[in-house]
Amino acid sequence: MQAEVFVVWLDGGQPALTGPCGPAPWLIELGSGDHPVEVVERIVRDVVGPPTLVHSTSWRRDRDAVVLSFVVVIDGELVGEMESAPIVRASLARSTATAAPRHIETSAVVEHGLRHLAWLAQDDAVVAEELPAAWRPVLDGYVPEPFRSLG
């Protein structure tokens, strides 16, 4: 099992990806006895600094492993010399009624992660409390796709 970590921050009010691997997905190996959230939180804390939020947002089968995707929100002060790139909107990878998508782009995983975070910001008291206020208007744009398509 692997964790695929997307470290996100607000760069001048715009969501951006960063991390020790730059904007690329940060892969972390998970042992069979590991708790994924604990391992991700520990390694992010050790390598980047204390995260604001750590949330698993999706999973898929890839690279001969089960891959758990995580969105990790950090404060901009932790970015330092790490490479960063703005997050651009993307279409989601759609399943059929009973089967997973055949192919999932990284951009679709990030899109799904931020939509998940947008939902948590409204539905989860802890996320609502911990997420910095500057994220609210950003996540307001990650509304359910049918409504976005009507815009």
Binding site: P20, C21, G22, A24, W26, L27, I28, E29, L30, G31, V39, I43, D46, V47
Partner: protein, 61 residues
């Protein structure tokens, strides 16, 4: 930490994440193992590192 007398040569080890290191076999092994453990929670042996390392001259052309 020497594998088949490779320490005199310069080697390059690249991670899938884009990180790389070039230097003696000892340096490349130590740096790659440290990178794997610290960043990716992956354990690697010296033999595994050198199996994927390439001579530095080859990697730079």
């Amino acid at each position: 930490m020497t594998i088949d007398g490779a320490a005199e040569k310069r080697w390059t080890s690249r991670c899938a994440c884009g990180w790389s290191v070039t230097g003696s076999a000892d340096l490349v092994i130590a740096a790659t193992i440290e990178h794997g453990e610290r960043i990716h929670n992956m354990a690697a042996t010296a033999e595994q590192v050198m199996a994927r390392a390439v001579p530095a001259d080859d990697s730079e052309t």
